[in-house]
Structures are given as structure tokens and as C-alpha cells.
């Protein structure tokens, strides 16, 4: 029945001459209802002939307005991980360590206060695994123009991590990372929003992966990432196209380009479907060495065989199916599939001898606002 065509009346109203809504009106303000959400993530990855890593991840997220202008939000996740860590090379097949069963508990809390022309937020996060403890703090400031068409965001965060493995590969090692973000979001017109963010991250300390043979990385890393996104809404189609591009400059040498396209389609009855496709192409880190393991290793110099620092291209198709039940309940299912291949690197030059690496995520979420 025509009456269920979602948002059709508002779209028709905005087509009238001289009738405009305040852009971004709802975007800047304390949430006006409490929201709690439970998500369950199931992650598996594999390589041809290789074992799988599996993560079951129940998570809990809640946000609650404390007053008209103050909100607190927080989340807790609990990961159970089982299986061997991923295999990276043919040469390593069957040589990886014993099965691992580990748990991670993590939580964060953030307080945001809204004022007339700006909002400030402060947060803290803590994550605990048997061999890895991370503590982080963040401060952010957002400010907007009087017409609220433009928002500036500035954020600063710091993390202090402690790594200690029972194998002795890492003994009370430390890592410190500082992140700075500056961004601008502009509502160009009723249907187009453009955002550009620059993030600079610098860290020092222990960046090695203690579970990988010979892995030794530089003790300083700086990463500059520039992300630009645009969201174009098509009222007559009840859909939104989201495109993004990210350039990443990494002192490890693993520079990358990422492009993404997402289509969000609203459907009758509160349903929505959001297919997405992401492509990443990356250079190898300057201290990355291809197979066989240990080749090109020079004692005392950085070395890694971690496939995540190799030269490759990767595609991630995904889809989210969500339903807003209209009475405060929302539910969604998200499926993403990741496949990484050396030969998919843009312009060629991918790391030879690398097996394709695949992973998939299935996440189920249920939320309720009060």
C-alpha cells in the first residue's frame, strides 16, 4: 500500500518552493532518549589449508542523557578467542603455535556536555587480555556555525599499553600512542553532507608482535591519515549514497589508499538494506620480508613477515539489514567478507608467495531506546 512509502510525505513537502528544513538540526544536541544495545559478533578467518581463528564477541552499549545537555555513554565487550592466530605463508602452514584460548574484556565510558555553540567530551577506556593491558583517555571539542551547516571537530587521545607474554617474548613492554584529529563537516544543501578529517598519530615503544617469529619493528611510528567522505541523499529513491576515500601515510612504509561506496536503502515497514564495497591497496612496510620466513633477516634490524604489513589489495563486500520496529526497538544483522590478495594491489607489485587471506564477520545487534 502506498501509505507505507517511507518518508514520502516529507520528501514531497521539501519539494514545495520555499519550504526548507533546518539542515542538521537534529545533529547537534544531547540525545533525547536513552538507548541500550546488545551486539553479538562472530568472526572467523582462514587461509587455504590453514586453521581458523574464531572470535565470539558479545558487546553491550548504552547511552543515557543525564539532562538536556549532558549525556553519558559506555560500552563493554567480552571476547572469547579460540584457534591459532592466522597463518601467513605456505611455508608456515602447520608450523604455527598451539591453539590459543584467550579472553579480552574491554570497556569505555564517555561524558559529553553540549553548549549553545559547542560540545565537549571526555572519555576513558580500558582493555584487558592476559598478555595485553591498554588504558586510554580522550578529549574532544566540537563547534558549529550559527546556522549549524558546518561543524569543526578536534580530538586528542592518548593510550598507554603494557605487553607481557608468558612465553617471555615480551616482558613488561610498554607502548604509548598519541592521536590528534581535526575535521570539518559541511552540509552543502538539504541532501549533501561532506566531511574531511585529518588524523595524526605518533607512538613509541613496543610495536612488535610477540607471537610471530623474528618479528621486530621500529620503536617509533607515526601515521597521517586523511579521510574524506560524502553522503548524498536521494529523497525520491529513499536512499543515500555514501562514498569515502582515505589516504594513509605510515612511517613503517605501509602507505595505503582506501575507497568505499555504501548505498543505504530505506524500505517499507521500517526495513533498510545497506550494501557496501570497500577496496584497500597497500604498500609493504619497509622492513617487511616475503617468504620463506626468515629470508632477508639481518640481526639487529627490523623485520616482519606479518601479512598485514605486506603489499596487497583487498576487497570487503558487506551488507547490513536493519529494521526499526517503530516502538523503540531496532535490530540489525551485518555480514562482511574480507579477502586479501597480493595480485589485487593497484598497479601490481604485491608480495609474492602470499596466500590469499579471508575473513568474515557476522554481527547481530538489538537495541532499544527509552
Amino acid at each position: 500500500m502506498a501509505a507505507t512509502e517511507r518518508g514520502a510525505l516529507l520528501a514531497a513537502a521539501l519539494a514545495l518552493p520555499g519550504v526548507t528544513a533546518a539542515p542538521g538540526a537534529a545533529a547537534q544536541g544531547a540525545p533525547d532518549a536513552a538507548f541500550v544495545q546488545f551486539k553479538y559478533l562472530d568472526y572467523r578467518d582462514w587461509q587455504p589449508g590453514g586453521r581458523r581463528m574464531r572470535v565470539d564477541n558479545p558487546g553491550f552499549y548504552a547511552v543515557k542523557p543525564l539532562s538536556d545537555t549532558l549525556a553519558i555513554e559506555g560500552s563493554i565487550v567480552y571476547d572469547g578467542m579460540s584457534g591459532a592466530s592466522p597463518l601467513y605463508f605456505n611455508a608456515l602452514s602447520g608450523a604455527s603455535g598451539e591453539g590459543v584460548r584467550d579472553y579480552r574484556t574491554a570497556g569505555d565510558v564517555k561524558l559529553t556536555k553540549w553548549f549553545d555553540r559547542f560540545a565537549i567530551g571526555a572519555g576513558a577506556a580500558y582493555s584487558h587480555e592476559r598478555d595485553y593491558i591498554s588504558r586510554a583517555g580522550t578529549l574532544e571539542l566540537r563547534t558549529w556555525t550559527e546556522d549549524r551547516n558546518r561543524t569543526y571537530a578536534f580530538a586528542f587521545s592518548g593510550a598507554a599499553d603494557r605487553i607481557h607474554t608468558e612465553s617471555g617474548a615480551a616482558e613488561r613492554e610498554r607502548k604509548y600512542v598519541l592521536d590528534f584529529l581535526a575535521g570539518v563537516t559541511q552540509a552543502v544543501n538539504e541532501t549533501l553532507i561532506v566531511q574531511s578529517n585529518l588524523t595524526y598519530s605518533r607512538g613509541h615503544g613496543y610495536f612488535d608482535d610477540p607471537y610471530k617469529l623474528f618479528d621486530r619493528r621500529p620503536d617509533r611510528r607515526r601515521v597521517l591519515a586523511w579521510l574524506t567522505r560524502a553522503n548524498q541523499h536521494f529523497p525520491e529513491r529513499n536512499g543515500t549514497l555514501k562514498v569515502a576515500y582515505r589516504y594513509l601515510d605510515d612511517s613503517f612504509g605501509a602507505d595505503s589508499h582506501m575507497v568505499e561506496a555504501v548505498w543505504h536503502q530505506a524500505l517499507p515497514g521500517g526495513w533498510s538494506v545497506t550494501p557496501s564495497l570497500r577496496y584497500l591497496t597497500q604498500k609493504a612496510a619497509w622492513f617487511f620480508r616475503g617468504p620463506p620466513i626468515g629470508s632477508g633477516l639481518r640481526p639487529g634490524e627490523p623485520y616482519t613477515a606479518d601479512a598485514r604489513l605486506s603489499a596487497f589489495g583487498a576487497f570487503t563486500p558487506g551488507i547490513v539489514v536493519a529494521r526499526d520496529f517503530g516502538d523503540g526497538w531496532v535490530a540489525d544483522v551485518k555480514v562482511e567478507f574480507y579477502r586479501q590478495k597480493a595480485s589485487w594491489r593497484a598497479g601490481g607489485g604485491g608480495t609474492e608467495g602470499l596466500l590469499p587471506f579471508s575473513a568474515r564477520w557476522i554481527q547481530v545487534g538489538v537495541g532499544r531506546s527509552f
Binding site: M1, A2, A3, T4, E5, R6, G7, A8, L9, L10, A12, A13, L14, A15, L16, P17, G18, V19, T20, A21, A22, A25, A26, G29, D32, D68, F115, D116, E146, D147, R148, P268, G269, G270, G326
Partner: protein, 304 residues
């Protein structure tokens, strides 16, 4: 400071409130907004011989009449309302007033024959339009922008205020409201929703709704109705039956613009039990009071 200008147009009491540092600038902006409301009334009022509405009615049964872009845009919008309401909302149904006289004292109900006699004059699907013209096929047919015009005027008035640099304002056209920003002190505009059955013991407002950069419209059997044998017949007539709807006493809707809030509220009244699903599909927040006086909806009656 706050500048508040009451005025009268479209047979109702209106008011524009502006918070502004400069009272003269506020007044200039308000005057422009009021002039716009009067312009829309003059152009679309069915009570004025020189209006577009009257010209279209006079041409009914004759040759197609050329109309301007603004009129076409409103007709497009009316077509959407008609489709989304499955024909319950129909701007050709104003002729039913010839049978339903809500001012008549003593009140009387029309007979089924009186309503049937008007049916050949009702039916949006029979209105012929092309890009420039409109034609009503049967003499006696007419269009009534009453369900759209006031809210359209509120949005246009709000647009003029913004163009004059106003950042905090409330346009109140007979209880249909469009807020620009918040109040100057940052608090949202707090709107009370009148009880559909006022009287001794009834509260001044059944609900409080806070809005900023949004619109609130209420449709209901508040003023124009007739009561026969203790039953209240509202002026909201289902175009498909010619009879008033009785499921809801009132329906208040919050939407980004007044014209959407107003027609959502009216269509929700007409759809009776189908209102919640319709409003959910339109993404509107709402508060409805049913025939028994019970409150329903997604707006918290105690201020959002």
C-alpha cells in the same frame, strides 16, 4: 529581546515570536513574514473571487486553465497526500461543506442522499493536469487548499525570517507551529497541546512538547464540529465516505517542516486505526488522543 506580533489571517489568530538583539530588525523580518502569509491567503483562499482557487472552480467543466509553478507545486503535494492516504485526503472534497454545515444552529446531520448528490463532484483522480494547466472535469467541482495552505504559509514565513537573519523564532499559525532554532537562551520552544475536550477540571494542556528547528501541527475536532444526540461530528471528513472520522479526538505530529507535520496529522486522523503505521512510515513523532481520551504515540506527553 523578544518581539511578539499577533495578527489575523485565514480566519484564525496567529502570532510570530522572534528573539533578536535588534527589535527593529526583528520587526522588519516579522512584517515580511506576515505579508507572505497574507499573500498566500489571497492567492489560494476560496472566499476570494480573485484567487487561483476561485479561477479553477469557475473554469470547471470548461477549458484547461493555465496556473503558475507555485500552484502546480501545491497540486503535486496534494497528489502525494491523496496517494499516501489511499484517497482519504482529497482536496476536491471541500464540496462536502455544502452538506455538512458546522455553523448551523440547531445542528443537523446531512442525509445520505445529500452526501451522495455531492459524490460526482469529488475525486482527485479525475482532475486533469499537464505541466502548465489544470482542469476540473465537472461544473461545480472545486479545490480546497485548506488542509495544506496554512502550514505551507508557516514554512514560507519561517524561510523569510531566516532570510532576514532571524535565528530564534516561533511561527504560530492557528496552532500549527514552525520553530526556527531554539529560544535565544538555548532552551527549546515548549508547546502545550490543548485538550480536545476543554472544560472545568480539564488541564490547560494535555501534553508538553519541546521543539527546536522543527514543526508541530495538531489536527482534531477542537473547534469546528457539530454535536447531535451527544455525538460529536468533526469537520474532518473522509473523502471516500463523505462522513467524519471518529477514531481520534486529536493528533499532534512533529516533523522537520510544518506542511509535512500538518498533512501527517490530518491524514493520521483520517486513517483511524491505520495512523500509527502510517506515521511510523513517514518518520514522524506523534501524540494522539483517542475517542476514549487515552493518549497514544511516540512523543512523551510530559515534554519529550
Amino acid at each position: 529581546m523578544r518581539v511578539r506580533v499577533p495578527f489575523r489571517a485565514m480566519a484564525a489568530e496567529h502570532e510570530i515570536v522572534v528573539d533578536h538583539d535588534d527589535a527593529r530588525a526583528a520587526r522588519t523580518a516579522i512584517d515580511a513574514a506576515i505579508a507572505e502569509v497574507h499573500r498566500i491567503e489571497a492567492k489560494f483562499s476560496r472566499y476570494r473571487d480573485d484567487s487561483v482557487t476561485s479561477a479553477i472552480a469557475r473554469a470547471a467543466g470548461g477549458a484547461p486553465l493555465a496556473v503558475d509553478e507555485e500552484t502546480h507545486a501545491l497540486l503535486d503535494y496534494a497528489a502525494t497526500c491523496h496517494a499516501l492516504s489511499d484517497g482519504a485526503f482529497d482536496i476536491t472534497s471541500g464540496v462536502l461543506r455544502r452538506a455538512w454545515d458546522f455553523r448551523r444552529r440547531p445542528p443537523r446531520l446531512p442525509s445520505a442522499a445529500e452526501i451522495d448528490a455531492l459524490r460526482p463532484l469529488i475525486g482527485w483522480q479525475r482532475v486533469a493536469r499537464d505541466g502548465r494547466t489544470v482542469r476540473l472535469p465537472v461544473p461545480g467541482m472545486e479545490l480546497d487548499f485548506g488542509g495544506i495552505g496554512k502550514e505551507y504559509a508557516a514554512d514560507r514565513a519561517a524561510g523569510l525570517l531566516v532570510a532576514h537573519g532571524v535565528r530564534h523564532a516561533l511561527v504560530n499559525l492557528g496552532g500549527d507551529l514552525r520553530a526556527i532554532g531554539s529560544q535565544a537562551d538555548g532552551r527549546p520552544w515548549r508547546i502545550g497541546i490543548r485538550p480536545p475536550r476543554p472544560g472545568p477540571g480539564a488541564p490547560a494542556a494535555v501534553a508538553l512538547v519541546d521543539i527546536a528547528d522543527a514543526a508541530l501541527a495538531t489536527s482534531g475536532d477542537y473547534e469546528r464540529f457539530l454535536e447531535v444526540d451527544g455525538v460529536r461530528y468533526s469537520h474532518l471528513l473522509d473523502a471516500r465516505t463523505g462522513w467524519p472520522v471518529r477514531h481520534w479526538r486529536s493528533m499532534s505530529v512533529v516533523a522537520p517542516v510544518a506542511v509535512a507535520a500538518g498533512s501527517c496529522a490530518t491524514i493520521a486522523m483520517l486513517l483511524c486505526g491505520g495512523a500509527p503505521a502510517f506515521l511510523r512510515a513517514q518518520g514522524a513523532a506523534w501524540l494522539g488522543i483517542d475517542a476514549a481520551g487515552a493518549v497514544h504515540g511516540t512523543l512523551d506527553p510530559g515534554a519529550r
